[in-house]
């Protein structure tokens, strides 16, 4: 493999991987405050992309993306308020089935609103043939946008959770919900907020990746599976490890294309998911003891 091809694969892997990491972080945010795996996480990414595409002809691109992110956040909050907030000690099985149902409804609604066609946002700078040269290989500037914006999301999130009082309250919720309630934190609002937050970052990721990967009504399931793979790889609930795991999966996937037919690319990540679930369900970076204390 030439070094140029190697770098091509590497950049492709990184840009996909960081998207997976964002979806995984979305999973983690909701999981940490509620103990729920939100199976509709991938649909947020799809919605963000779709709404931005619809708004784009009428509005400048940055504004369209901002509105799309806000709209998705509202949808995320509504989902929590309508379907989850009022349930009294629901079982895990019940929650799984509800979020699966939500993901189906969002997907079917998208199908009826936007149809089956594959859509895309325009490239943020230039067009599909614009390229810039890095280390002697040609990369689309959109790849840099993806990597840049996603890194920014990760940085902002870690700042948010460490240094703002809202972020600290959310962490308190995830550490011990009962204790947090006793300290006067409104845990219910925290849960709603966690849905908003993960819907928002999902939607933003959906917008930046749309020019390269395109957006289609049923793209969510695949992303959800891969995001979940990454979340598990990193250890459920651990967002920094999710970034490392995301990059790892993205790069493995990108390089697998050189050995296996494209059609099997998705099978690879799912196989990784199955293997990791069987061998180390607490994740590559997680500890078994800590995983034992988590709720499933």
């Amino acid at each position: 493999m030439s070094s140029e091809l190697f770098l091509q694969y590497l950049f492709a892997g990184i840009s996909y991987g960081i998207i997976y990491a964002i979806v995984a972080i979305g999973f983690n945010i909701i999981y940490n405050t509620t103990g729920i795996i939100n199976f509709a996480q991938g649909e947020f990414v799809m919605l963000g992309g779709m709404i931005a595409i619809s708004l784009n002809p009428h509005l400048p691109l940055p504004l369209a993306i901002t509105l799309a992110v806000c709209a998705t956040m509202i949808i995320g909050a509504l989902i929590e308020i309508i379907f989850i907030r009022w349930l009294d000690h629901p079982s895990v099985l019940r929650l799984i089935i509800i979020t699966i149902g939500i993901s189906i409804l969002i997907r079917e609604a998208a199908l009826h609103i936007w149809g089956e066609s594959v859509r895309a946002l325009p490239y943020f700078v230039g067009n599909e043939i614009t390229s810039i040269s890095i280390f002697g290989t040609n990369i689309s500037p959109q790849v840099l946008w993806v990597i840049g914006i996603c890194s920014l999301i990760v940085a902002c999130l870690s700042f948010f959770f460490k240094f703002t009082s809202l972020g600290q309250e959310m962490r308190a919720c995830s550490a011990n919900r009962t204790a947090a309630t006793l300290c006067g934190i409104n845990t219910r609002n925290m849960v709603t907020f966690s849905f908003m937050l993960s819907a928002g970052i999902g939607a933003l990721a959906g917008c930046v990746m749309s020019p390269i990967t395109y957006t289609q009504y049923d793209g969510g399931t695949n992303l959800a599976i891969k995001g979940f793979t990454v979340a598990i790889l990193g250890g459920l609930g651990n967002s920094m490890a999710a970034v490392a795991a995301g990059l790892l999966l993205g790069i493995i996937e990108a390089f697998s294309v050189s050995v296996l037919p494209l059609a099997f690319q998705d099978a690879i990540s799912i196989s990784i998911l199955l293997i990791i679930l069987f061998v180390r369900p607490h994740g590559l970076f997680g500890s078994k003891e800590a995983a034992g204390l988590k709720e499933f």
């Binding site: 349930l87 409804l105 599976i225 199955l274 679930l277």
Partner: protein, 356 residues
Amino acid sequence: MGLKKYIPIPILLLAVVAIQLTTHYTETPFYLTQLTMSAYYALLVTGLCLVMGYAGQISLGHAGFFAIGGYTSAALTTFNFTPVKDHAVLRFFDKFHLLMTTEDMFGDILLNFHPWAACVIAIIVTIIIAFAIGIPVLKLKGHYLAMATLGFGIIIYRIVLATEFFGEADGISEVPGFNVLPGVSVNGDFDARIQNYYIAWTLVTIGLVLLLNLIHSRVGRALRAIHGAEDAADAMGVDTAGYKLNIFVISAVFASIAGIFLTHYNGGIGPSEAGVMKSVRYVAIVAIGGMASLWGALVMAVGLSFLSLRGMFGSYDDAVFGAILILIMLFAPDGLLRLHYLDKVKRFFRKTEDIS
């Protein structure tokens, strides 16, 4: 004691016959086609009902087992093995008269597996895969189990979609009929419609009797105990992991048999049968039927599959199942037939029966 559990069986058989006669006299025999297909889906769903309702495990990969059965049988009975007929493996099968030759319309000799052989091989393949998947997967709980079985389903879907042997996006068509017994054939021919309706429902009845026996046996009790309090079942000597695995494999075999028969009946199978939405749909039906209610699962499977196959839901097919799923889980997590007041009525009847 003992025979009470069979009481609904004659009622079911009467209903099956009554429906057939009704379609005969109202001259609407075309309904039988969908009722036959619904019966096969019901076979799969009742098997899944045991895994979900009795052992308390979720499987989002049962369409995968349906596809394994259907595709294996379809491929073995349609793929022309003539070019490789001298291969040792084929010679081995030929020795036991498991292969058959037919002549196509151009006079070429086609070498295929006999449907019975294909059927048995498909079931064996299903059992092997179900064990291989079940051993690691069933160690997982809750979200992890859901995702792992979902992942398994997607892998099967991707494999049939990407493999030439399985016809890629077109699936496999022109699957021959399946002569179950001399003169009794599973196929989609117009004049075999009534016969097939009864074949399908006979199969469902047999399946139901087997499952009813199982849930009223020592094993069924142990499975319900696992669902009721897993560690306490373990402490009473129930091999919880082994039981979960066995029931998972049994339900996979049910799904596989449904896949085999429906494929021969339809004369083909496509990748959509392996899709995630199908698995979700089966889970939805079990949930609506009341999780731990075989009869609920059966009624809902036939009813909903029939409406769906008749195209009642139009382009909102999947959306309808999604909506039903959410509504049931929000408002009646014990299933539609198990709303609280119904339960009380049922308990009332149970008491009176016990006294008599």
